[in-house]
Structures are given as C-alpha cells and as structure tokens.
Symmetry: C2
C-alpha cells in the first residue's frame, strides 16, 4: 500500500478503480464504489455521480452501472446483449442480493430495482426510467407483507406493468389507461387513488391480458428477464430516431453511447421505522446556517408532494429516529465539505436505515444566496472570490426593493415591461400635478400616463410608482424611474387612458381615478387592489459581499470602476452609499423643471433676441449653481461628469393652456405668438434634431451659463475646504470641430470664473460617444477630448435606426421571432453597437493612450453588457444608483471570468 | 545642325536655351525667347509663360525676365542689387531699345515698360505692378506727340508717379488722392476723367512736390533709376511680412524667390493705325468654331471695358487692318494647336503692328464647353478622353433645364435651397388639389407648401415648380422634384404661409394665391412676377460627349454603371433616354397615392384583422401589377430594382376631415374610431419607427402582395416576348435575420407565381444598406443577399444622427462656421459615412465575391460622391433621371482620374 500512497491521491483517482479498464459492470453502494465522478465518459453522468456519492461515504442504495462501452457492442452485435455482459449482469444481481439481503422475486424480502439510462451528456429522446422492476406476483406479495398495505403493493405492480409495457415494449399507453378508467367507472369513483385493493387486483389481471394481446407474448414474470429486456431497451433507445435527431441538431459527436444504471429501490412506507424527507444544508430562504427540511414517517416521496399529509419539521426527526438523524447530520457536513455549496437532499429511511436518494445544489432566494456565500467563505469552505462568483448580479436587484408577498393573491389586469423594480400600491392619478397634491396629503399614488416627459418629473418623484401605456425599457419613464429607484411598469399596451373622464380601461375592466392599483416592477404586472408587500432587506452580508467584489475587481489590474447616473444631491448620496466612486452622467435637463426655473427656461427658449435670452439665463444661473454645488458636495472628492443641456428645446415648452398663458405673461407677448413660436420649434424627428452640442453651437450662451454655474459652484465648495472634481461633458458630438469649437469657448469661461474666484482647479472636458460618426472619427476626437463616455442608448438608437419611444410596435415581435436575441436597449448588442464601442475606444486611445473611457447608457447597469465593457477595456460603467451594487458585482464577475479564461 | 536635330526636339527643349544655367537676364520678344514654359522655378510662372508665348511665335511685346536666383542674391547682399546684375539690366535695356527702336526718356519714341513680380507659384503679398515706367517729362512730351493727346500723356504720367510712390516707395496713397480731389473741387468736376490737360499739368506738379516731401528726395527722373529701384522693390517684397506670412500659412517652401519681368508697353491709341481688342478662338457662348471678338481703333484696353465707345465686331478688322487681322488669324490657329483649348486673347495694334498681350483658357458656357470639347476631338486637337475630362459634370445640369434669361430683371423676394434645377413661372397655389385643378385648365402653377408629403405627389406633377418653407436638399419635396426633373426651391425659411387666408408673406411682401411668382432652381431664388426664360437645349454634341464618357468609363475595367431612380413608366423612359442602364431604385410608396388606391391603402392600414387587411391588399394588387408591368417594359432587358414598401404606415393616413370621412365610409366605421386608430399609429420619431422591413415582418401580407404583383407583371411581360429583369430589394435591414426571414418567405411567393404562370425567370433578392448596423454586419448579410444598394440618405441621417427634415435649424450654420465642409446630404461624407460604405462593400464581398454593389441615395447623382463610389469599387450609381447624364460624365471622370493616378 505504501507504493500506492506515494503516487499521491490525485494519480490514484485517475486510475480506473478496480483495475480493469474494459470492465462492463461498475458497482456502487453505501460507502463504496468502483467508479467516481471523473468517469462520465464511461459511466455516463448519472452513473459517475452515483459512484461519487458513494465514494464520499453517503448511504446510497446499492446498484451497478453498465458502462457506455457496452452500448456500442450492443449495436454492433445486432441489438443483442453480448453473452459475457449477460453473465456479468447476472453476477452483479447476485452480489446486490447478497449486499441488501433481498432477493429477486423473493416473497419475503423482494429485491426491486430501478433501471435508468444515462449518457455523458443529458440527452432527451432516450428511454427514461423503469421503477419497481422485479415486482412479479411473488414479490408483490412480499411487498404487501412488508408494508402491511396490499393496496399499495397492487398499485405498485399495476404501475410497473404499465411502465414496462410502454417504456420497454413500446405499447400504446392509452390502451392501459382506458382499462383504468373503466375500473374507475365500475367502482363509481373519480380517481385511481380511490380504487380499493379488489379493484386493483382486477386491473392487474386485465393489464396482464392486455399486455399479452398487444405484445403477442405474456408479460415476463422472471425479474432477470424483465431486467435484461429493460437493459436492451435502454441501449436500443440510443439509436432511436429522437435521440439521433437530438444529437444531430446539437452537434453531439464522439460519445460511446449511454450507460445503464440499475439501483435498489428503497421504501419509506415499510412501517413506523421507515420514512422519507427533503432537506437543505442551509435555510434556502434566509441563508441561515441551520439544517432545514421536512419529513414524513411511513410514507413515500409522493405523499410529501401530494399534500394529503402534512410533513413534519426536520428537527422532530431526532426524537423519532435519532440514529438516522445523526447520520443525516453527518451527511449534511460531508456534502457541504465535498460539494462546497448548499445542497438540496432527498432521503428515505427504510426500516431504520437511512438512504440518500439524491443531492444537488439547492435553489435559494437572493437573500439566501448572499448570506450562504459570505458565511461559507467565512467558514473557509470556499474562497472570497468564489463567494463573489456564486451570487448572480441580477439577484441583488430584488434585495434592494420591496417585493410582494409571494403568497398574496394577485388580481392581474395587464402586463407591461418590468422597467424599474419594486412592489407598490397606490391610488391612480393621471397628471403630475394631481400626484403632487395627493401625495402631499399623505396618500400613496400611482401616476398613470401614456408616456412621461421631463415636465412630469416632479409628479414622478411624488408618486410611489409609475405606469405608462407606451414606451420601452429606455423610455423617459423607465430611465427616470430607475434613476429614482422608483417602481415602474412601462409600455403596458392594453391600457387605454381616458384622462379627461378620469379613468383607464384594460379590455372590459375600468379603473377610475383614486382606485387603488398595485405594480410589480420586477414582473411588469399591474393589479387592481392592494397586495401585501414585504420590505426590502438585503441583510448584513450584502455589504461584505460587495466589498469582496471590489477587491476581486481590483485584482485584474484594470477592473471596471462603477459610477452612478444622478442629477440631484439626494440621488448622488444614495449612489455613494451604494458604493459608486463618482458620477458618470449628471444630466442637467431635469434641473430646469422646478416651478420658477421652468418659467425662466421657457422665457429663454422663446426669446427673440440674444439679449432677452441672456436675461433669462441670468435667472437660471443661481439655480444651476445651487444644484451643482449640492451634487459636487454629495460626491466630494470623487469625479462628477456633468453633461451640458441635451434635449431639444421644445421639450421644455408648455403643452397645456395655462402653461402657455404663464409664459405669455412672463414674456409679455400674445398667447398666439407663443403658440406660433412653439410650432416653429417642433420637429419631425426630435431624436435626430436640434439638440445636444448642436444647440450649444447655435446658442453658445446656454452652455456658457451652465459652465459658469459649474465652476462657480466648484469654486464655492473648494473655498469651504471641499474637494470638488467636476468634469464637463459635451453631448452628441459627431464631428471633432463641434467639440473643439465648444471646448475652446467653454474652457475660457471656466478659467475666467476660476481666475475671478481665485481658485485653482483642473478644467477637464470630454465628450459623449453616442453618434456612429463619433465612433468612426474617434481618433480625431480622442486627440482633443480628455474622456469619452459612451451614450449607448442613443448609440443603439442610431446604429439600429430604432426610436426607443416607438420600438414597442415591433421590437417585442422581433425578440419573439428571434430576429434579435434580446432587446438591444436592455442588453448591449455586442456584434453591432459593440463593434462601434470597441472601435471608438481603440481609436480614441490610439490618439491619447491615457484617455478615460466609460459607459453611461442604461447598459452600464446590465450585467451581460458590463462583461463586454470589461472585455473591451473600458475604465468605468455608470448606472442608476440602485443598480450600482449589481454593477459592482457584475464588474467583479467580469474580472473573475476573464482571469479564469486567461489561465 | 544635324547633330542637334538627331537629339530630337524634346531633349533640345530640356536644355536651358542660351546655354548659361546661371544667367540673370532672360530675353523674350516677338517670335523669340531665351526661356520656355518648363522653367517656372527660374523665371517664375509669369516669366516662363511670356517666354513660351514668344517661342511659339506670338508677337508679344519684348522684354526680359530677371531670374529668381537673383532674388536670394539680393537678400544676401543686404537688399542691394549686385553690381553684375545692374550691369546686365543696363545691357538688357540697351538691347530692348535696339529691338523696339525706342529709347528710355526719348522725347520722340519713348520706351515705356511695365515691371511685374512673378514667383513659381502665384502669391499675394508681393509687389504687383508698375506701369508706364520711364515716363519722365521728356518721355511724356514724346507720348503726347505720338498720341496727339496731351491730356492722355499727362494722365499717364500722373498715374505713373502715383503708382511708383505707392508701390515702389511705399508712400501713403491717400495723400496723393487728396491732391486729385482738391483739383476736382477747384475745377468743379466730379471725376478725374473730367479734368483737362491744364488741371492735370497742375496735379503732376503737385504730385512731384508731395513725393519729395514724403520721400525726402525728389522723384527720380532717370528711367534707369526708376527701373532699378522698382526691381529692388520687387525683390524686397519677397521678404515682406505679408508674403512671408502667406508662405507660412500655405506651407510653401523651397522656392528661390520671385523673378522680375520687365516688358515694353505698347499703346493702341497712337492714332488711326493703332487699336486694341479681345477675342476668343471659338464662340464662348455656343462653342461654334468661329473667330469671335471685339476691337476698338485708336483706343486703350480701358476704353473697351469702360463702355464709353461701342466696340466693333472682330470681323470688321479685316477691312481696317488686313495685315494685323491675318496675323491674328494665324495666332488663333497657333494657340489652339499649342494650348489645345479655346483661348481668350488680349491684343493691341500699335501703329499697324500686332501685339498679343495675354492669352488664357477662355471661360465658356456649358453649351460651349460641350461643343468645343467634341469638335476639338473631332479635329484631333485633343483626344476623346480629354474632351470628356474638359466638361464639368455639374455644368450639364444647366443644359437640361430651362434657365432664366441672364439679362432679365429679377425681383428676388426670398432665397431657399436650390433643390432641383430649372426656371419656372406660375400662379401660386397652396394645395395639391388646387394645383391639379388649375393646371388642368391650362394655367401654369407653382405649388407653395411648408413641406410636401406623399399625398402631394399628384399636385407636384401638375405644378411647374415647387416652393417649400422647410426641409433640406433631401426633403420629400426635393427628392421627388428631382426625380420628376421639376424645378424646386426648398426650405425657404423666410416664407410664412397662411394657407387658410390664401397668401404667403416674406417680411413685408405679401403674395396672394393666383399671383405669379418665378423660381430659379439653380440659384434657389424666389421672384415675384414672371421672368423671361430660355428653353433647355443641350445641342447635338451632348450625346456624342456622353457616348465617349461611357467608352472612357469602360476602359477602367470596372467603371461605374449609371442607373436611375424612377417609380413611374414615364420617368423610366426618360431615364433610359438619358442613358440609364437600369433602375437602381424603384420606390413603391408613391404608387399608393392614386385616387382609388389611397382608399384601399388606408383600408388596409386601418383594418383590425388579417382578413380585412388581405381584402384591401387584393384591391391594391392589380394597380401594383400594372405599375410594375409598365416600368419593366420601359426598362425592358435592363435590371429594375424594386424596393418593397418603406415608409411608416401613418404617412398614408388622411390628415384632413374629408379624407377621414372617406375612409370611415369605406371601412364602415365611426370617424372617431379612424382618428383613434390613426393616433395609435403616430410616432415620436417616424424616421426611426415602424417602417421598411420592420413592417414586412409585422405584416408579411403587404410584401407578399407586392412580390406577387412584381412577378405577375414580369410573367405577363415575358409572355409578350419581352425580357423583364426585376430585382427585389428589402429595405431597412439591420440584422441578417430580418433579411433571411423575409427573403425565404417572399422567394417562395415569387416562385409560386412563376410556376403557376409557367414562366422561367431568375428570382433575385437583395437589400438596402442604410442602417449603420447593416454596414457593420455586412459579411453576414452579404452571404445571404445577391446585391447591396447603399441608401446613403438614411445612412447619412443615422451616421450623423441628423433628421433631414429638421436639419434646417442648424446645418446651414454648421457649413457656415466650417463645422462641416459640406452638407452631407448633398455630398457624401467620405470620412464618416464613407468609411461605413467602404467597410460594407468589403465585408459583403468577403462573403460573396460577386456581390453586386451600388448606391441609390441622392449622392448617386453628385459628381464628388461618384468619384468616391468609383474609388471604393462600387458597381453602379443610381440617381434621378435628369442627373443620369451628369453621373455618366462623373463616372468617366472618376475612371480617367484614377487611370491618371495609376500611371
């Protein structure tokens, strides 16, 4: 034995245990196995797993695996089992009888087995499972005696005959079912579970007759014959049309064939010392490190599922079956140590003996996933990197927003896009003003609109949630709601709003103003009435996991940083609390919608002369300065990228009569004149219109005011001893001259302010890359700009030629018909838009190697897209504050994934 | 001499004539010269040209050039003329005196010269010209005697003093002008030409005094001193601040310096045997091969220009000065043979002797350019390729459309974009219906609208011309008008239309319905009243030139073919007559605007069910089939690329009340219902909305009807013995699956039709490349499509993110501020959009080497863009019928240009 030990355990494992490379039969049983987990090619996936479970000491019901190599021999010998294999199978059965103390066809302790197929890859189309094989008349009597339940034994025999007839012999299942239905009719009952033993006795007799008629030969009574024919059926199914077709479609080649697994059946209903149960090594709901599960004594697995009897809490088992329970406790430790993850276990106790039927990685809630991962790492079961990799970024979303109680009843009337997560209830209102008034009086409200515009932002803030009838995942409502961390269901196309009469309709359902509805921002469901919610509670392990994620991210040398998109001090503070290391996109348009601001803004837009525009801009300056000072303070010491005004001016104009009257009044002109000027500003395709830097070039005074406000705010903060780090971003650049023209003019303004205030600050300017042409000309632009920020929303719109406001009419159909793999506004289109992103990053850096490159579109918060951002070497992603944790985790995954690939 | 001859004339010319490489003085005179045209480096451009004119035997007034090499010697010797140069100049003057029989300061036959600078490159900032040098008191008396005009001689002396003072001495010109003004005041006259001899005598005296006061020394009386100081001034100006700055900006390096040209003055006003004139070797207006020009006897060049005396037709000169005339005839032949192009000649006859003062390539009309080029090629003066290269493609545009009489008065009230050429007058109407009614009664009308839509196409057809207040060079109005060859002025922003009250206003000018206005589609001018027009007449040489262009184009091996964009049989016929070799883009949307069609179309769009849509489509099928049959017939034997329906459906919906009523009636539903359904189809950004293949995928029945119509039409034509060659183009593809999904479905429809009709025809499908993503994914798409057609209008919109309907608000400012070099909708943006075009062509061909690739955007008719299309290896361009000749010529230029570059 010394020699073997010197070779080390690893080389020992590689050697086929048992020595014979071309052996056909591989035994396994409680605590021993010939094979092991790495031998999938020879034993199939199922066989290898069974062997592994045995090898680590689990009490698995014994059995054997017939190797995949036999499958090809079977095919070559004209679909006949070679004589040596038959002999080996017989020997294996004898051994199994000896080990279990049971006998094939034994009327006292009958050996019953299951027969299952199992190739190296899971593969539909092959013969599946025969249970209770061996259950001939004698064995049936034995089972009846053991269980003290003749009806159960008869039912098991009936099921075995039917399964064998259908699965092994390929007889028509419906013919057998008709016999059963006839029996039910005769007995005057509705279900087969109501048939008594006598009736089942009759069914068994009829089944045997029917089998003989259909198969042309009697049902085999000899368990060995049953077994050999089942084995042949499994091997034969490997060459069946469905299995061959499946392998063709999935391009599966080079497999030897399927293996066959023969395993002893065990029963939890053999009396009061038998039982069955399901358990988890930790609480799958909370992640708490407790043994969690349920059991039923003298019962089968189906009984637990059927819900006729109420299962007991696992803790009770220690009283009833202390030995089995202690054994189970050992199994729990063994499993976590071996599989290094929380396991979901099925077990049966047969006459006081514990058997583990199955173990697999346990499904768990997001909360549990985080806690399990963190605690396992603290127990040193896994590394911290593994803990980080174990939690899916998207799962975090649910932890940060309230959810509906999964048990609560939902009266769903419509479905929209799950635009921003959360679970909210409130009274329906149809305008932003109503929302503000009602919310101020303390009533939770839900703002329902066809679509929202910047005018509605105040009302959105006041509302609990937002429901829109049109618009997609990046519509105004969706983007703003995500930014606020507010629940939103967007583009619920069936919702028809009649604002003037104060109701909306979905089909025949009418919902009036002030009626209560509920929105599920994770599923997109709209419900009437209120639904019980559960508060958000990410748990204390959440922060630990994210700090590990950040550490993992840094390891890659150039891991992505995560910034946030925020345009209010409160949002900036939230983002910072969630771990954002700066603001990647501070939009400035919403800042103009306050009560006094909007009037001044409209004055500016509708002014006829430069002088009048300047006058209005002077009114706006103090507001802007205050906004910027607040945001810079909330993100003090971290970079804040401020985008100059982007939307077309007409978005700020009033559409309602009193808005028009107010502006007419403020500007002291005729209302008709205001309408006329508004009309002239209208555009056919505002998305492609007079916006972004195009406005900046036509009306330089607007950007000048903004830059003045930014640097006055920064100077003010610096004088207070803070460390403001503003960066100015010029939007919608498509040509380098747009950028240089504005940059030159605006840097002058910034430096003038700093000089006047006697403050020193670096003046950093960069641009959005959101126009395809900017990506193409990125070398030129990169030579001039200090940073690039990909506006992938607009870049996606332009690269595809899709308007995100209008895609609702065809994009869902596109995804359904697989024209597109995914909504490109939700997940970055790597092969199209992605090529432009990569090209622009490369070309930009070719001109300026230290160019800082980030992404601030909605994709910045999408885990799949974040992986891509890492691959193409971006410096940071920026996303809504509430998605910052998700992005941090996704960034870590990207680094861990690429490190893994690099190895 | 035999030896010299054996060396051949060419090697002889290369040798510096005169032998001495570093000689300073290079003489020239009637019929002889030391230098020649290739010696620009040494003699400057002007000196080399003067030498060349002399060498080919032209009677050029004699003189000499001081070589550029002297310039650097001048600088090195501290801005002094080296002694040997002074001596050489003196010798040269002696020789000139001998040759001319005149003398410096000679009171009988004074020798007067001009002194001019002249470097190898023309260069502002250097000293320009001194005339009449040598005109001291004595010489003045001589000139007075010769001309018999003392006043003239005094005036010439006054001018010489003033010029010398300013140009050579750098004295303040205004001081001299004040003297002249004083003299005018004293004499009580308004202009200096009214001053009599006595007054001028006084002015000369005052000038000499002023000169002395300002310069600190008397005016030099010695002609040699005048000359030497002038020469120094020329050389000195080479190092002047302005000249140095100019060379710096234009990166001009490596030049030796400037040369100085000294040339005898000749006078056409020495008496009845003297005269002056201007002539062209051919008629610059018609191109006719006749000697064309004007002269005046006993006059100076200024007299011809001033228009005080009426010049005589050149033909009359044969009577007055037969010898000079015959000599001039010889000069004409000599010049065309030598310069191989039509020349514009200035001549003077001094006392019976002809002098040629200048010859240059003559400016000509488009008509003349074509005729001259063709006839010169036929005379073998130039090759056919040269003839093709001589005519600018854009010039042809003027030949194909009527133009306003350049003499006619124009009352311009507004300016728009020159969207489609032509010159038209007509009565103002504001709706398409009015246009049709009025035009039907025989009145020419001009349709004035804010913008046009497909609904207006009938009215546009009926109108003489179209004026729009908004929209750019590729707006609907512009594109459709160019397609029809109809005059259009687009985007005349000052025009404010009040349709309901029936007038439009430009500033204070009001133009009522039925008032007559005129449009100039070449300049973009809008005029009130009618302006005399001249009909279009390209002349018989036009077709010859274009056939040579086609031949030149074929020589390159892979020259561009020219197809047309046409969607009506009549347009197709026009295009074919203009030489189109197929249709590159047959739009199908205008076909749905006929009276009965539009109702059926609207029925289809507003139908609620597939069945109802199919019913409406069945009504449309016969119309489509008839359209396609007609177009295929007009282009029989040539490929016709038909684009399936492209615009969003709402473009077809009625906006006016009676339109809505008609649809409601046809569909038998409520008008309110129609309004509601229309509203639902509205889009925020229709350009990026539910259109093109996106419609095809959502409503496959529409494209199925179109494809059925195409192949039924083709089958019908084929059965009549014709050779229809339809190609089906799927628009707006951005992802290969869009294409394959539709192609598979529609090819099936096409093959079904052909099988049913028992006709064999190839079924060819391809796609537009107009979405940036399609260009990026062109390898995938090229593997599936049989042709690509670049829709560069949409590709430009998306690559820049510009809406062509809205760019009016900023694009003109962009071009003005040089943010962009040109309107990218007029001239293809080679560095941005062009990269995508090139990338797509390359990637597409990498997947399918025989992929046919063309361009069908508006750029297909723009010469600069056509050059690019050739460079990137496209197979064809497609443009409006009326631009086909321009494109053919531009395609030939591209080939000739690249062949030249390849050599």
């Amino acid at each position: 034995m010394t020699t073997t030990r010197n070779r080390g355990p690893k080389s020992n494992r590689k050697r086929a245990p048992g020595g014979r490379k071309n052996r056909t039969i591989w035994h396994f049983g409680p605590g021993h196995a010939d094979g092991e987990t790495s031998m999938k090619d020879l034993l199939g996936g199922k066989g290898a797993n069974l062997a592994e479970m045995c090898r680590i000491g689990l009490p698995v019901p014994g059995g054997f695996t017939i190797a995949t190599s036999v499958c090809s021999r079977f095919a070559k010998s004209g679909h006949a089992l070679p004589a040596d294999v038959v002999a080996d199978v017989r020997k294996a059965i004898r051994r199994l009888e000896k080990e279990t103390g049971k006998g094939f066809g034994d009327p006292k302790r009958p050996l019953l087995v299951s027969v299952r197929s199992g190739a190296a890859l899971s593969m539909p189309g092959m013969m599946d499972t025969v249970l209770n094989l061996g259950l001939n008349d004698d064995a049936m009597e034995g089972l009846a005696a053991q269980t003290g339940n003749r009806r159960f034994a008869l039912d098991a025999r009936r099921r075995f005959i039917q399964m064998f007839a259908n699965v092994v012999e390929g007889l028509d299942l419906s013919r057998f079912e008709r016999v059963l239905e006839q029996a039910q009719e005769n007995a005057g009952v509705e279900t087969d579970s109501e048939l008594d033993a006598a009736a089942l006795e009759d069914v068994v007799a009829r089944y045997l007759k029917l089998f003989k008629r259909l198969a042309g030969r009697p049902f085999p009574d000899d368990p060995e014959e049953q077994l050999l024919r089942s084995i042949c059926a499994v091997f034969g199914s490997w060459q069946g049309a469905r299995a061959v077709e499946y392998r063709r479609i999935h391009k599966i080649e080079g497999l030897l064939g399927t293996a066959v697994n023969v395993q002893t059946m065990v029963f939890g209903n053999l009396g009061p010392t038998s039982g069955t149960g399901v358990c988890f090594t930790r609480d799958p709901s909370t992640g708490e490190n407790v043994f969690y599960g349920e059991y039923l004594m003298n019962a089968q697995g189906e009984d637990v599922v059927a819900g006729i009897r109420t299962p007991q809490d696992l803790a009770g088992l220690v009283e009833v079956q202390p030995k089995a329970y202690r054994q189970l406790e050992r199994v729990r430790r063994l499993l976590e140590k071996h599989y290094r993850d929380m396991q979901d276990i099925e077990f049966t106790i047969e006459d006081g003996t514990l058997y583990i039927l199955q173990t697999r990685t346990g499904k768990r809630t997001a909360r549990s996933a985080v806690r399990t991962a963190v605690e396992m790492a603290k127990q040193r079961l896994i590394t911290r990197d593994e803990a980080v990799a174990r939690v899916q970024p998207e799962d975090l979303d649910r932890l940060l927003h309230p959810q509906f109680d999964p048990q609560a009843e939902r009266n769903v009337i419509a479905r929209g896009l799950p635009a921003s997560p959360g679970a909210v209830c409130g009274q329906v209102v149809f305008t932003a003003d109503e929302a503000k008034v009602k919310a101020a009086s303390g009533d939770p409200v839900i703002l329902v609109r066809n679509e929202t515009s910047p005018e509605d932002v105040g009302g959105m803030h006041a509302a609990e949630g937002i429901l829109t009838a049109t618009g997609g995942m990046t519509s105004h409502a969706a983007v703003v709601a995500r930014g606020m961390g507010k629940c939103c269901v967007a583009g619920a196309g069936e919702v028809r709003i009649d604002e003037s009469d104060g109701f909306f309709r979905v089909g025949d359902t009418v919902v009036w103003k002030d009626d209560v509805i509920s929105l599920d921002g994770t599923s997109g469901e709209v419900m009437v009435g209120s639904v019980t919610t559960m508060p958000a509670d990410p748990g204390p392990e959440f922060a630990t996991l994210l700090s590990w994620a950040d550490t993992a991210c840094r390891k890659g040398g150039r891991g992505l940083r995560v910034r946030a998109n925020a345009d209010a001090p409160s949002d900036a503070a939230t983002a910072r609390a969630f771990g954002a290391v700066g603001i990647g996109l501070c939009r400035t348009e919403h800042m103009f919608f306050g009560e006094k601001r909007i009037i001044a803004m409209r004055e500016m837009i509708l002014a006829d002369t430069l002088g009048a525009r300047r006058k209005a801009l002077r009114k706006l300056l103090p507001f802007q300065r205050r906004d910027f000072a607040g945001i810079l303070k909330a993100m003090d010491g971290l970079p804040v990228t401020i985008r100059l005004l982007d939307p077309p001016l007409h978005e700020f104009l009033p559409h309602e009569e009193d808005g028009i009257a107010a502006v007419a009044d403020a500007l002291d002109v005729d209302e008709q004149e205001i309408r006329e000027r508004s009309r002239r500003l209208e555009e056919m395709n505002p998305m492609l219109g007079h916006r972004g830097c195009r406005l900046g070039i036509t009306y330089p005074e607007i950007y000048e005011m903004q830059v003045r406000a930014i640097y006055e705010a920064a100077a003010q903060n610096k004088k207070k001893g803070l460390r403001p780090r503003p960066e100015v971003m010029i939007p919608l650049v498509g040509s380098v001259k747009e950028y240089t023209l504005l940059r030159d003019r605006l840097k002058r303004v910034a430096r003038d302010v700093l000089k006047k205030k006697e403050v020193t600050l670096p003046v950093i300017f960069g641009t959005m890359i959101e126009i395809p042409r900017a990506a193409l000309r990125a070398a030129e632009i990169g030579a001039e700009a200090e940073f690039f920020s990909f506006g992938t929303n607009d870049l996606t719109q332009l690269t595809f030629g899709y308007s995100r406001d209008d895609v609702g009419s065809f994009l869902p159909g596109y995804v359904e018909q697989k024209v597109l793999d995914a909504d490109p506004f939700a997940t970055l289109d790597q092969s199209g838009v992605g090529e432009l992103v990569q090209m622009a990053a490369e070309r930009g850096r070719s001109a300026r190697p230290k160019l800082k490159v980030g992404i601030c579109g909605e994709h910045g918060g999408d885990p799949a897209s974040i992986g891509f951002c890492h691959e193409v070497g971006l410096d940071y992603v920026s996303c809504s504050p509430f998605r910052v944790p998700i992005a941090r985790l996704a960034a870590a995954h990207a680094v861990l994934g690429s490190v893994e690939r690099d190895v």
